[in-house]
């Protein structure tokens, strides 16, 4: 093979990549289109998480079904990092024509306003909520060999040894951490919160007995619960998780009134036409009703939501207040 062929190969490859880049740019540059025939071109869903994350998998499932039902491609564009800010800002600045959407999550829209002094977006004013796509409950768990068998045991143990029990969560300001703080105040116990970087790190810490209990979203825990490596004590959502019928809720395990869950949902830039919002809301609700989709979400440890754009917006508004209170109570300094 001579140099020329190598160059040509490189050219071909870079052309291919260029093609992809142009394809991706189309989502931003295309002209605004009439709502009646929406969508007339591919739609980009921007998500603030990396590929493989729970939100990402849900987004890809929904995007694939939307593509099938609406006849145009729904592309998933991952902009991970910076707490989802990059993704949120990209959607805030996009044309409000329904061709750029945001897969929003509790962390970015509901928690960040109380964690940061300044945000590059306004959760309520800059976005139109479309439809919830998934709800995640959390679990309090211990190692399978622990002598703690129920949440009541755990609370009793914590009351007997205040400030001596280590409790694993993910980083400060994450939903896991805030849920754990709320649990501590609601149950009136004093635990040492130990933040880890990722959920698998927390599982390892529990199994090694570095921490005696932990608080994490159910999704990454389901395989470990089913394999018998860890013991889930209680589930934090208001209702039981259908995939684990033996797991009681926290509020039925002695901390009455405690309820904690997060959501992911589709949003659009503010001023996106109402007809498009309503159309997408109908489609997403219909997709979430498909048994095959419900099955996949259940396997991922998610609850299946439904509802109108207005209900979604009301939930966001309620959550912003809820997290502000938790953050104030836990005395987490604004950044």
């Amino acid at each position: 093979m001579d140099e020329k062929i190598i160059e040509e190969e490189a050219m071909k490859r870079s052309n291919l990549v260029l093609g992809f880049v142009i394809l991706a740019l189309c989502g931003f540059l295309a002209p605004t289109a009439g709502a009646q025939e929406y969508p007339i071109k591919p739609v980009t869903i921007i998500i603030g998480y990396g590929a493989g994350n729970f939100s990402d998998i849900v987004t890809r499932i929904v995007a694939q079904k939307l593509s099938e039902r609406l006849g145009k491609q729904f592309l998933v564009d991952n902009r991970p990092g910076a707490g989802g800010f990059t993704a949120a800002v990209a959607v805030k600045n996009a044309a409000p024509d329904g061709y750029t959407l945001l897969m929003a999550a509790t962390g970015t829209l509901a928690i960040s306003p109380s964690l940061f002094k300044q945000l590059p977006f306004d959760s309520v004013k800059d976005f139109e909520m479309i439809c919830l796509t998934g709800r995640i409950g959390f679990a309090i768990y211990t190692d399978a060999t622990s002598k703690i068998r129920t949440l009541q045991d755990f609370i009793a143990e914590a009351k007997a040894k205040p400030g001596k029990i280590n409790f694993g969560t993910t980083p400060i300001g994450s939903a896991q951490h805030l849920g754990a703080e709320l649990f501590k105040t609601s149950a009136g116990i004093n635990l040492v919160t130990v933040p880890y970087k990722t959920s698998p790190d927390v599982v390892v810490a529990v199994r090694a007995n570095d921490v005696q209990g932990a608080f994490d979203s159910l999704t990454p825990l389901v395989p470990h619960i089913k394999s018998g490596a860890i013991r889930a004590l209680a589930y934090t959502a208001s209702q039981q998780f259908p995939g684990l019928p033996n797991l009681p809720t926290v509020s039925l395990s002695g901390v009455s009134g405690y309820e904690f869950s997060t959501w992911s949902g589709l949003a659009a830039p503010a001023k996106t036409p109402r007809t498009i919002i309503n159309r997408l809301n109908r489609e997403v609700n219909a997709i979430l009703a498909i048994p095959d989709v419900q099955q996949k979400l259940l396997e991922l440890g998610a609850l299946i939501p439904s509802g109108t754009p207005e209900q979604f917006a009301a939930e966001l508004a309620k959550d912003i207040v809820k997290y502000r209170d938790i953050i104030n109570q836990a005395k987490i300094e604004k950044q």
Binding site: V21, G50, T86, G163, S227, A229, Q335
Partner: protein
């Protein structure tokens, strides 16, 4: 446990190969390692992004085929990553930083062929060995991964940081300076224990800290381009005529022990989530530099400096599957994606995979060996083609490298900011090269610093503020002792020679 190592092994491997060498699975294995090699060769494009993109397509495949393909991409990329490190001084991933030190020097001396061949042969041997290790000891080794808590990691990092000084080719003082600079850069970002933002200056992109790939591609790749452009007018890039493509008899003799040592160390450290293969690759480099009769050649194109680290990172890439397959705990982001793939395919990852899905478990293990064989067969004939890249006039080559770097860095998180960051570090890379300060120790500081801080503070939280935790825990204590011995080994001869000098002066 004894039963595990007896006849069962052969029955299990037989079952595995029955699964792995069906025509369909052979095809997916080949596709996987081929795609993996390609993305490994393209700087910056990593296996994580590729597997993520291919994840939806894998749902239509049977679970075994899908996982065989995804696994092939992963270790294929480890293989391909060494190619750019050797040819154009661009480490595609953390574990191949060390390969640039001697691999690129070999290429400059016209010995790119033997360097690439050594990497391929070393990786094949390491891959084969690691496959056997997984088959024999997976469950035992998995429990070791669980014994590594924050104190153990911290002590391991201390040892690692001490060893990184060995990477220095020139001045020791400058190397220490560069490590410290790396540690300082590692402070940027969100503090995990308080959520405080450090040195982000309101730039949201800095909230997650400075990414290693951006810095590595800037310092090594772009910096090298700037240097070469300056040099090219004066002298050709390749100093000597290209020698034979294959290693000489002397090369073979010199590469055998580094490959063996690299394989063993890589297999062990690969099991540890977070930086295992990276630590393995430069730990081996330090060991080889100390043991080699040619230690003076290190950093100037010693074949041991390619053979050891390349074997180590490939062995580590393979044994990284152990915690995932046996415990359902991912050691790397790529493994996390594979767990996602398993869940969607309806398989519960964890210890039950081995008992409930033996065909899947052993099929994947057998396919690893098949994949490594494919990689060797694919890569050895390609060496001739890669080496020709060295002969492409530089003014034609560097725009392509620049473009691939930009695309690769952009693909990390679809962010233009990363391209700016890479350019900035490219400029620093040039300046530091002019000052004869080396980039490798800085990068290790950047990677190890934040991990060290994180584990130190977490260990202190776990012990409620008692620093004795580092000594009470046996593995941590042993690692710290090794670190003390290492310092003593360096310092005592120095003191002795100083004294002797002093006596002589009298």
């Amino acid at each position: 446990m004894a039963r595990w190592v007896t006849m069962d092994l052969f029955a299990n491997l037989y079952l595995g190969f029955q699964v792995a060498i069906t025509p369909l699975n052979l095809l997916y294995c080949l596709i996987g390692v081929f795609v993996g090699t390609l993305i490994g060769v393209l700087p910056g494009l990593g296996p994580t992004a590729t597997i993520a993109m291919l994840l939806p397509t894998s749902f239509i495949l049977p679970p075994v085929s899908a996982l065989i393909m995804l696994a092939g991409i992963y270790y294929g990329a480890q293989y391909g990553g060494s190619t750019t490190s050797i040819l154009v001084n661009l480490p595609g991933e953390a574990a191949s930083i060390v390969t640039t030190l001697d691999g690129y020097q070999m290429a400059l001396q016209g010995r790119a062929g033997p360097a690439l061949a050594t990497a391929a042969i070393g990786s094949f041997f390491a891959g084969t060995f690691a496959t056997v290790v997984i088959a024999l000891f997976a469950p035992i080794l998995a429990t070791m991964a669980l014994k590594f808590g924050p104190p153990e990691y911290f002590s391991l990092m201390v040892l690692g940081l001490l060893a990184s000084v060995v990477l220095a080719r020139g001045s020791l003082l400058k190397a220490i300076g560069m490590i410290v600079l790396g540690l300082i850069l590692g402070l940027i970002g969100t503090d995990i224990n308080s959520g405080a933002l450090r040195y982000t200056f309101g730039v949201t992109e800095l909230m997650d800290g400075i990414g290693f790939v951006q810095v590595a591609m800037g310092m090594f790749g772009i910096g090298e381009i700037l240097l070469n452009l300056e040099r090219e007018a004066a002298a050709p890039r390749i100093m000597q005529a290209i020698s034979s493509l294959m290693p000489t008899r002397e090369d073979w003799r010199r590469m055998i022990s580094p490959i063996l040592r690299g394989t063993i160390l890589g297999s062990v450290l690969g099991i540890l989530p977070g930086g295992g293969p990276l630590l393995a690759s430069f730990a081996v480099y330090s060991v080889e530099k100390k043991l080699s009769k040619h230690s003076g050649e290190f950093g100037k194109g010693a074949i041991e400096g390619v053979a050891g680290p390349e074997s180590a990172n490939n062995a580590g890439a393979q044994t990284a599957f152990i915690p995932m397959l046996t415990l359902g705990i991912p050691a790397t982001p790529t493994m996390a994606l594979m767990i996602g793939a398993m869940i969607i395919e309806g398989i519960q990852p964890g210890p039950t995979v081995m008992t409930q899905q033996p065909a899947l478990f052993w099929g994947i293990i057998a396919s690893m060996w098949v994949g490594n064989l494919f990689l060797l067969v694919l890569n050895l004939p390609m060496i001739g083609m890669w080496v020709r890249i060295c002969m492409v006039p530089y003014h034609l080559l560097y725009p392509a490298i620049l473009a691939f770097c930009a695309i690769g860095v952009f693909s990390l998180s679809n962010s233009v900011f990363d391209i700016y960051l890479m350019s900035l570090f490219g400029f620093f890379g040039y300046i530091f090269a002019k000052l004869e300060c080396e980039a490798a120790p800085m990068l290790l500081g950047l990677i190890l610093g934040p991990m060290m801080e994180e584990h130190l503070r977490r260990a202190m939280l776990l012990s409620h503020g008692d620093p004795m935790i580092f000594i009470r825990r046996p593995i941590s204590c042993a690692l710290l002792l090794v670190a003390v011995v290492a310092i003593a080994a360096v310092l005592i001869p120095m003191i002795r020679t100083k004294r002797e000098e002093a006596f002589q002066e009298e």
